[in-house]
């Protein structure tokens, strides 16, 4: 169960960010923002690898006291960051991976919308619902 899901543009500004305890939104902003350092680092390290062999899933970015931060980067350098409660030990790497895949699919759908301007904030109900489902239900 994710507590925060963020989509970050290639230029490292947020396209979408949502967190469950809404009061702590700023905290998650900070968490996701700082995680970008790690994402950048991982991406630049990966840059040397062949493009087609690239693993989109970045794995655990860093753990904090209460949360684990996972990352995923698309081929177009759009980043997905997911913050998961670290007490939730049921979540395995594979499940995180599949959640990211779902997120990626949904994001692709958003991009396919001809009325969406790439680079704008995402205001899609379908995407919203999908994120909500990932935040509530245990995958």
């Amino acid at each position: 169960m994710a507590v925060c899901i963020a989509v970050i543009a290639k230029e490292n500004y947020p396209l979408y960010i949502r967190s469950i305890p809404a009061e702590q939104e700023l905290k998650f902003h900070y968490t996701v923002h700082t995680s970008l350092d790690v994402v950048d680092e991982k991406v630049s390290a990966m840059g040397k690898a062949l493009v087609d062999q690239r693993e989109l899933y970045l794995g655990l970015l860093y753990p904090t006291e209460d949360y684990k931060v996972y990352g995923y980067v698309t081929n177009s350098k759009v980043k997905f960051v997911m913050v998961v409660d670290s007490s939730n030990t049921a979540l395995r790497d594979n499940e995180i991976r599949s959640m990211f895949r779902k997120l990626h699919n949904s994001y692709t759908d958003v991009m396919c919308n001809p009325f969406y301007n790439p680079g704008d904030r995402i205001h899609s109900r379908a995407f919203d619902n999908m994120v909500t489902s990932m935040m509530v239900q245990v995958c």
Binding site: P14, L26, H29, D37, V38, E41, G119
Partner: protein, 1191 residues
């Protein structure tokens, strides 16, 4: 790295932000200043057994340094102390004589003694030298001072190799004594030998060090190796079997490690590596983890020193390359035969050994990891672990392995030391931030820096360091990719972590306010409002503006660059979004004030521009120019306007004050406006005005506003998405301004702008047809320049109506006599408005009258009969358009004209500009009287005739009508009467026709029309028919022009052949009776004058006398009564134009009586082509009388 610790130290899983270690240690009194760069500098000595103060600035190279503490005793001013300290610390590395080894010195002015107690564990933690600095001005103070020095020495006594005392100010006897441990200097300025002294001191340290090293290194299998231990271990070893093999090994291993440290300090890198390796072997076997960790770390440090001679601490000058013999290259680990710090060593075996002993860069990290994992087993070694982490991070930063470095840092974050004081927390977060920065994690770095900043002002701190907080916050800006220059936000929509950035800006605002710098907080708040407007919620917008207003009430926001003491400049923040300006349009002057160029000059300009009439290149250029330049001009001294379309994005009313224009190029007096925009208004036009005070090109660069107390200069160039029609306009020299006021009432309705002229004033007047109205126009110069030139032209707007005579007429001369018109002066100008329209052209009306069978019999028409006409016309089923047009007698015709006043004066006139003021004149013409029918009756005289006019009064008033010399005729409303006027015939041929007219109307039809008009005018002036409405006291002319047809004209025309009959030398006409005597012959003369344009004749005339019995009977049998003397027939030869021919004869009357002479043409002589009316001769009436008997 974290997983590494998971099992071994579960209590540390909670990170360092919360201090949860149960055995919280005693907190040393926090003294010191934030921001000092050397970690050790900021704590005064404390006592205790466990090291608790980490030195975050440590790096691997520090392992090879000797620690020297420099401290003041007694009262030494800080300034003086640091002057000396600086000079001392400049001696940081020494080439020891007779060897090529180098000693490195680390200086501290504060060092906690409990850290010193860990000196055996890692010798670089041991204070080996003490330098005290003191002031002493009199000899009697000297013993006391010296005593203090000794006390100071006691603190670090156990570890000191040597010490020095620098005494300043003391002179005389005591100072003369040469002492090794004390140096005397007269004052702080005269102490040239300080550096030399220090070098000597270091050399003495080296001697001790070297002796210790040799001492420890040689007694390998000596009697008994003492067990070295860290402070917290001491109690653990009480009662331990000291003879066990295990214990011995432990002692050996620890001693090896210690020797390794000493070797490293003494500059023997290679030896130290060997010792460390041996130590690792020994300690591993006895599971002495703490020391094993230390040995591994020593190994790492030595390897790092070998690999990275440039240093890892990143401190410039901390480690100078030792001479030119050492290559700068670092990374290459397989370098057989490489140079070492010991210089060239010919022994290849040691070379091989070194290559083996020295760790590879990868191994260094592995060993660091291992060492840290061992340290982490001991809670008391937290500082050691932390410092090891920091050192490893520095190494990794050099190796550019950021991910691993971040793991080490992450681990460091989790290390809990104890209850940290606030200053320590700040210190810790700052260092973490710096380290993250070092490995390129700018965001993380910014995060920690911000935490540090917040820590500076934590509520638990008695005196919050707002200044420090602010400074730290500023440093976080790049990490949040936030620049304080609003220009960076102009490009498109803002993209960034708005929530985070906003938070930071809020914090900056708050910190600067608490710092007591309202200007800064206003600037930051303005910036927040300007750049984050899209991300602020409505409530936030309200809050931000409210606080901004409260700040600006004390310190208004300016457009000046704010410079911070540390060199950062805060550029001004113009509120380009409060309000948002969408469009800027420079407005032309109102039509009446628009300057116009004199035509001739304009033509010259155009011809000078290009020889081509059209060229695509020029057109293209012009298009470009147009984008910036505007094709109208402004006038110096006249109010000019710029229209902005503004939009208020705020959810509340926005008050914009002091909004004005920013211009360049011309002296411009801006007249600021204040406006209030409703919440979330749509586009709202705002007109900014100003007065150019000089001439030239003026550029509208932007506008300035004051919103919420912040002054903003918004430049158009930097506004995104603004539409403008150009921003440069020419200002021409001043022109006078004319204001006109008229005697007639102003008209609300405007003229149809068919001509494109804009009319400033309209007057309207209602006139009856034929009426003349005088329009007095008052011309007032309301400008500042004299009015020198005035031209008046009129233009009648196209009307279908046929207009007779001059509609508008004026005499300009009288007005011009009052010129030049000085400012404020008035002149008057009179225009006559005359309406002469043809209302009679309503054909079917005429038709009606004709149908009524009114004959030209000369009977006056009865008025009741006339009155039935009107309803009849109305009821007539003619087609509707015609009936509506014609049937309405009261149909009002309108006439519209424009009076143009072109005027100029002052400097603008010199430059060839004028202004045009237009006065619209709207006249509603109502029909007064019109003539429904016209016909002629021949009068008694051939030179005259009777004109019969049916006059119809279409007004609702009784009016009188009078011709030139007739009596008045009274017409009731709607009445029609016939009036007869005797008129002289006209000689139209004599009218001069100007050749210009002839060429103008080349069309013969037009020519004919023109001629007819001229005739009509002539007739009109002859007739001079006037009407008068006594009840309204109005009068005017009635015109017959419209109804004169060809037939009537012909009747009215004087025949071109002028026949004059003279009896007895007397001209005879109709009414003249010639008297003669019976029996006397009377001469009769017939004269023909040819006024036509061709030859006429020849003609034959016969004179036939007759008597009229007045009963219709003419008696022509008068041969007995009258005798002709000579022939009674005259012959006239052909007469050429303008010539005349005279025939003479005589008559002899035999009886008295009234006789008439009828002069007849012989029909065969009359040329057929000439009209009959040309041969109209007057009849002659002669009265023959008997001879006067009395006479």
């Amino acid at each position: 790295m974290r997983d590494l610790h998971r099992g071994s130290r579960p209590d540390c899983a909670t990170p360092g932000f919360r201090s949860v270690r149960p055995e919280a240690r005693r907190v040393p009194p926090p003294v010191g200043t934030l921001g000092s760069r050397r970690g050790g500098d900021w704590l005064l000595g404390t006592s205790g057994s466990t090291m608790s103060v980490p030195d975050y600035m440590q790096c691997a190279e520090d392992h090879q340094t000797l620690l020297v503490v420099v401290q003041p005793v007694g009262i030494v001013s800080e300034e003086n102390f640091f002057r000396i300290y600086k000079r001392i610390s400049s001696v940081s590395q020494i080439n020891v004589r007779d060897s090529q080894r180098v000693l490195y010195i680390r200086y501290r002015h504060h060092y906690p003694p409990e850290n010193n107690e860990w000196g055996d564990f890692q010798t670089h933690r041991k204070v080996v030298g003490l330098i005290t600095v003191t002031d002493c001005f009199s000899a009697k103070d000297w013993p006391q001072t010296f005593e203090k020095f000794h006390v100071q020495k006691e603190i670090y006594g156990s570890t000191l190799y040597d010490s020095r005392l620098f005494v300043f100010g003391l002179q005389g006897e005591i100072a003369e004594q040469p002492r090794t441990d004390v140096a005397f200097y007269p004052n702080y300025d005269e102490c040239e030998s300080v550096e030399k002294r220090i070098e000597d001191f270091i050399e003495s340290l080296f001697i001790v060090l070297e002796s210790k090293r040799l001492d420890r290194a040689t007694d390998k299998s000596g009697d008994k190796i003492p067990l070295l231990c860290v402070p917290f271990e001491k109690k653990d070893f009480v009662g331990l079997d000291t003879d066990s093999r295990h214990y011995k090994k432990r002692c050996q291993g620890r001693m090896r490690k210690h020797v390794g440290d000493l070797c490293l300090q003494a500059g023997m890198l290679q030896d130290s590596l060997v010792h460390y390796h041996m130590s690792v072997e020994l300690l591993r076997s006895v599971n002495d983890f703490l020391w094993l960790g230390a040995a591994l770390e020593g190994l790492c440090s030595a390897s790092v020193i070998y690999h990275y001679p440039g240093g890892t601490g990143g401190k410039a000058g901390a480690r100078r390359p030792q001479g030119s013999s050492l290559p700068a290259d670092t990374g290459n680990r397989h370098r057989p035969g490489a140079l070492t710090t010991n210089g060239i060593n010919a022994d290849t075996s040691t070379e091989i050994g070194r290559a083996k002993n020295c760790l590879s860069p990868e191994d260094i990290i592995d060993k660091y990891k291992e060492a840290i994992s061992y340290y982490s087993k001991y809670k008391n070694a937290g500082v050691i672990e932390l410092e090891a982490c920091v050192k490893a991070v520095r190494v990794l930063a050099i190796q550019k392995r950021s991910m691993e470095a971040s793991e080490f840092l992450q681990n460091a974050v989790y290390i809990n030391l104890r209850q940290l004081s606030e200053e320590e927390k700040i210190q810790r977060y700052s260092i973490l931030s710096e380290l993250y920065e070092l490995i390129g994690f700018h965001r993380k770095s910014a995060f920690f820096k911000r935490v540090a900043a917040m820590q500076c002002v934590a509520p638990s701190i008695a005196e919050p360091g707002w200044r420090a907080c602010y400074k730290l916050l500023l440093e976080t800006l790049p990490g949040y990719s936030l620049s304080l220059d609003p220009k960076d936000f102009n490009k498109g929509t803002h993209r960034g972590w708005a929530a985070v950035q906003m938070r930071l800006l809020h914090e900056l605002v708050y910190a600067s306010r608490r710092m007591g710098n309202p200007a800064l907080s206003v600037r930051h708040l303005s910036f927040l409002l300007q750049t984050m407007l899209d991300f602020l919620s409505d409530q936030e917008k309200k809050d931000v503006t409210q606080s901004l207003e409260s700040y600006t009430s004390k310190c208004p926001g300016t457009m000046e660059l704010l410079s911070l003491p540390d060199g950062l400049n805060l550029p001004p923040v113009p509120f380009t979004k409060l309000p948002i300006v969408r469009r800027v349009k420079l407005l032309n002057l109102p039509a009446s004030l628009r300057p116009q160029k004199m035509k001739s000059l304009l033509g010259q300009n155009m011809s000078a521009k290009s020889p081509f009439i059209y060229s695509p290149i020029i057109a293209h250029n012009r298009g470009e120019e147009r984008s910036k330049k505007i094709d109208f001009q402004w006038v110096q001294g006249d109010v000019c306007e710029v229209q902005l379309m503004v939009y208020n994005p705020m959810p509340f009313e926005l008050r914009v004050e002091n909004m004005g224009l920013l211009t360049s190029g011309v002296e411009f007096e801006s007249l600021p406006a204040a406006l209030s925009l409703p919440a979330e208004s749509g586009l709202y036009p705002v007109t900014l005005v100003g007065v150019p005070r000089s001439t030239g090109q003026i550029s509208i660069n932007g506008y300035h506003t004051t919103v919420f107390g912040v002054f903003s200069d918004c430049l158009l160039d930097s506004l995104p998405g603004i539409k403008t029609n150009g921003s440069t306009v020419e200002v021409i020299p001043a022109l006078p301004r004319l204001q006109i006021s008229t005697s007639l009432p102003r008209s609300a309705r405007t003229l149809q702008p068919s001509s494109g002229d804009e009319i400033s004033t309209n007057v309207s007047v209602q006139l009856y047809n034929g009426e003349t109205q005088q329009l007095d126009i008052k011309l007032e110069n309301i400008g500042t320049e004299p009015l020198e030139k005035l031209e008046v032209t009129s233009k009648i707007l196209t009307t279908k109506e046929k207009l007779y005579g001059d509609f508008l007429s004026w005499k300009l001369e009288e007005t011009l006599a009052q010129f030049p018109l000085q400012p404020g002066k008035t002149a008057t100008f009179t225009v006559n408005i005359k309406v002469k329209l043809d209302f009679s052209c309503q054909e079917n009306l005429l038709q009606d009258f004709n149908d009524d069978g009114i004959s030209v019999s000369g009977l006056p028409l009865s008025s009741p009969f006339r009155q039935v006409v009107k309803p009849r016309v109305d009821s007539k089923p003619v087609n509707p358009s015609e009936s509506s047009k014609a049937g309405d007698f009261s149909h009002v015709k309108t006439l519209e004209a424009i009076l143009n006043f072109k005027y100029s004066g002052g400097p603008g006139h010199i430059d060839g500009y004028y202004r045009n003021l237009s006065l619209g004149i709207h006249v509603e013409a109502e029909p007064s009287v019109f003539f429904t029918r016209v016909s002629t009756l021949p009068a008694t005289s051939t030179r005259q005739c009777h004109l019969l006019l049916d006059v119809f009064n279409s007004t609702e008033h009784e009016l009188t009508i009078s011709a030139k010399n007739n009596e008045e005729l009274i017409l009731h409303a709607g009445e029609c009467q016939r009036m007869a006027i005797q008129v002289d015939k006209f000689n139209f041929e004599s009218f001069p026709e100007s050749p210009a007219e002839r060429t103008q109307f080349t069309n013969p039809k037009q020519l004919e029309e023109e001629r007819q008009e001229a005739r009509g005018l002539e007739i009109n002036s002859k007739l001079d028919i006037h009407w008068n409405i006594p009840s309204l006291k109005r009068h005017g002319e009635a015109s017959v022009e419209g109804i004169l047809n060809q037939l009537v004209l012909e009747h009215l025309q004087l025949a071109p052949l002028q026949w004059d009959v003279l009896v007895d030398g007397q001209l005879c006409d109709c009414d003249v009776v010639a008297d003669c005597r019976v029996g006397d012959p009377i001469p009769l003369e017939v004269r023909l004058t040819n006024w036509s344009k061709r030859n006429v004749g020849p003609f034959a005339l016969t004179v036939i006398p007759y008597q009229d019995y007045q009963n219709g009977v003419h008696n022509y049998e008068l041969q007995d009564a009258i005798t002709f003397v000579g022939s009674n027939t005259f012959y006239i030869d052909s007469v050429r134009p303008t010539e005349n021919s005279v025939c003479l004869g005589a008559l002899l009357f035999l009886y008295t009586g009234d006789f008439y002479l009828n002069i007849k043409f012989h029909e065969d002589t009359t040329s057929k082509e000439l009209p009959l009316s040309w041969f109209c001769l007057p009849s002659v009436h002669i009265r023959a009388q008997g001879p006067d008997l009395q006479a």
